[in-house]
């Protein structure tokens, strides 16, 4: 346990999250992301995945939620009282659900907006060039309005924008949602490359377990706000429950979930 902790860039120790002081959305989630590692957090709709990420990035605050129990450590330091902006400066960046790019800005301006205030002009240009190398499609469209990019391009921009903040831990909330399989493969391949080349640790939230387990080393399965399973990606892929619910046969159910989810989202936004 202690050796694991020293190697972890992120560790959650049985945290609970309350919304509006009453609704217990997650009930004792513990997880570790090893330094330089790639970990998936899997689970169906409403399981508490997004809430977990918001607890880590501090974005809970803007939704009247708070961590009511347990502790979150980043780099060994407890970050419960650190405001969201400062967590970004520490190196935690959360790519929120639904690829929320700045729609009325160009992709180039999206990247500029995310650059830390203290970053020099030279460094900004270098970083942008590096991001365009990862995402050549963005480079082609860097002067168009981001709201009119395709879904895949917007997801790439959301990830590129997050890279601009110089993260050490990149957390992604369902980047595959609503994207064609070939795009999911492309984006996940780039994530792997970023992880290898930049040493950025990655916490990947997904409903698409099949794709996620291909690129991570470990996975956690969360249900009803609790971690119900934790293992290596290999073991999870071989697990019969996971196979039944998330990998095999469940295509129809997943598809339905996603459709339902998107409809709900439209109502909410």
């Amino acid at each position: 346990m202690s050796s694991e902790e020293t190697n972890s860039i992120l560790s959650l120790n049985s945290i609970e999250v309350l919304y509006d002081s009453v609704l217990l959305a997650i009930k004792g989630v513990s997880l570790e992301v090893p330094n330089g590692g790639m970990v998936a957090l899997l689970g169906s709709n409403g399981a508490g995945k997004s809430t977990t990420l918001k607890a880590i990035s501090g974005l809970l605050k803007s939704e009247r939620g708070r961590v009511s129990r347990g502790e979150i450590r980043f780099d060994g330091k407890i970050i419960g009282d650190v405001p969201p902006q400062d967590r970004v400066h520490m190196g935690i960046c959360h790519v929120i659900e639904g690829r929320r790019v700045f729609e009325h800005l160009t992709p180039d301006e999206n990247l500029e907006a995310a650059a830390p205030v203290s970053m020099s002009r030279q460094k900004i240009n270098d970083e942008k060039a590096r991001i365009y190398e990862y995402f050549p499609r963005l480079a082609e469209r860097k002067a168009s309005q981001s709201g009119y990019l395709s879904g895949g391009e917007q997801q790439m921009l959301a990830i590129g924008r997050a890279l601009m903040t110089q993260p050490r831990l990149l957390m992604l909330d369902e980047p595959s949602l609503g994207l064609a399989p070939f795009l999911v493969a492309e984006i996940f391949g780039i994530l792997q490359k970023i992880n290898r080349e930049q040493g950025v640790s990655i916490l990947l939230v997904e409903q698409n377990a099949l794709a996620a387990l291909e690129i991570v080393s470990h996975g956690y399965l969360i249900e009803n706000g609790r971690v119900v399973m934790h293992d290596t990606a290999e073991a999870l892929k071989a697990n019969s429950d996971i196979q039944e619910f998330y990998l095999g046969g469940g295509e129809g159910k997943n598809f339905h979930d996603i459709k339902h989810y998107r409809r709900r989202k439209r109502w909410l936004s």
Partner: protein
């Protein structure tokens, strides 16, 4: 048809309209960052004028000292209003925030009345009232000054919104949550937009204070400024300029002919008609951004 009369009405209307644009730019700055039509912008304009007078008229300092000093003070007044009154309302229904800005407007009117009284005071800018002819057209000098200031501020803000800080403000106006997620300080950005709008209020207050004298009625400019901002699209600086020119022309030409028929007083009617028609026919205004349909 008297073409010189029509041309004179049109050109003077356009120039006067740019002075409305000046006011509208302040509204647009705040709307852009927080989607709030700031009903206190009239109060801020009036306060800006009084603060200038406090230095120039009461302390006897020259205007070239008094105006920049007032701009600095109003910058911090804007920051303060956001910090104290608006920030705690973040996330509340927009109508609560509207009521707050209305409350601030009434508060500012009451405060200036208590401190400086209600008698109109001259701004003392010293712009001459001698007739100024361009060809056969008789133009108003102070309105030309106002138009030039509006254009200068327009250029300055167009440049500002291309700067790094300006891009961050535009990002904030697009999506608070996404801004937080990449470490942008939304609160500081919104505060900055209030500060800048309050500086614009000083410019507006000086020009309109010179035109109609400084008293509480300066805050009533809100009506025309809001009409211009709505016509322009509420979040567009370009829109504020174009809509100001348009409204000025429509108002001046419309009332120039209508007044002859009804015997005066048709200006406000024309402005009201423009506001109502805009909201009915083109709620996004001329240049307002449409929300992009998400795919």
């Amino acid at each position: 048809m008297d073409w010189v009369f029509l041309a004179e009405l049109t050109v003077n209307g356009a120039i006067t309209g740019l002075s409305y644009s000046l006011f509208a730019i302040g509204l647009v700055l705040i709307y852009k960052s927080s989607s709030v039509p700031n009903l206190a912008q009239g109060g801020l304009t009036m306060l800006g004028a009084y603060v200038v007078l406090a230095f120039s008229y009461e302390l006897g300092w020259p205007l070239w000292v008094a105006i920049p000093l007032a701009a600095v003070i109003m910058f911090f007044v804007g920051l303060g209003i956001e910090r104290v009154a608006l920030r705690r309302l973040a996330g509340r229904p927009i109508v609560m925030i509207l009521m707050m800005t209305l409350g601030i407007d009434i508060f500012l009117r009451g405060t200036t009345l208590a401190i400086w009284g209600g008698a109109p005071r001259p701004m003392g800018l010293g712009v001459s009232y001698d007739p100024f002819f361009v060809g056969p057209l008789l133009l108003s000098r102070i309105h030309i000054v106002g138009a030039l200031v509006a254009i200068a501020l327009f250029v300055a803000f167009m440049l500002f919104f291309r700067s790094r800080q300006g891009i961050r403000l535009r990002a904030i106006s697009d999506d608070y949550m996404a801004s937080w997620s990449v470490g942008i300080s939304v609160e500081r950005g919104v505060g900055l937009s209030w500060a800048l709008a309050s500086v614009v209020a000083v410019a507006t207050g000086v020009i309109w204070g010179e035109i109609q004298g400084v008293d509480q009625t300066l805050s009533l400019l809100l009506l025309k400024g809001l009409t211009v901002a709505v016509l322009g699209g509420l979040d567009s600086i370009v829109g504020a300029i174009v809509a100001g020119i348009l409204l000025g022309i429509v108002e001046n030409v419309g009332s120039g002919y209508l007044d002859q028929m009804v015997g005066g007083g048709s200006r406000d009617l024309v402005v009201a008609a423009v506001l109502i028609l805009t909201v009915m026919l083109r709620p996004h205004g001329l240049f307002g951004r449409h929300d992009i349909e998400r795919i």
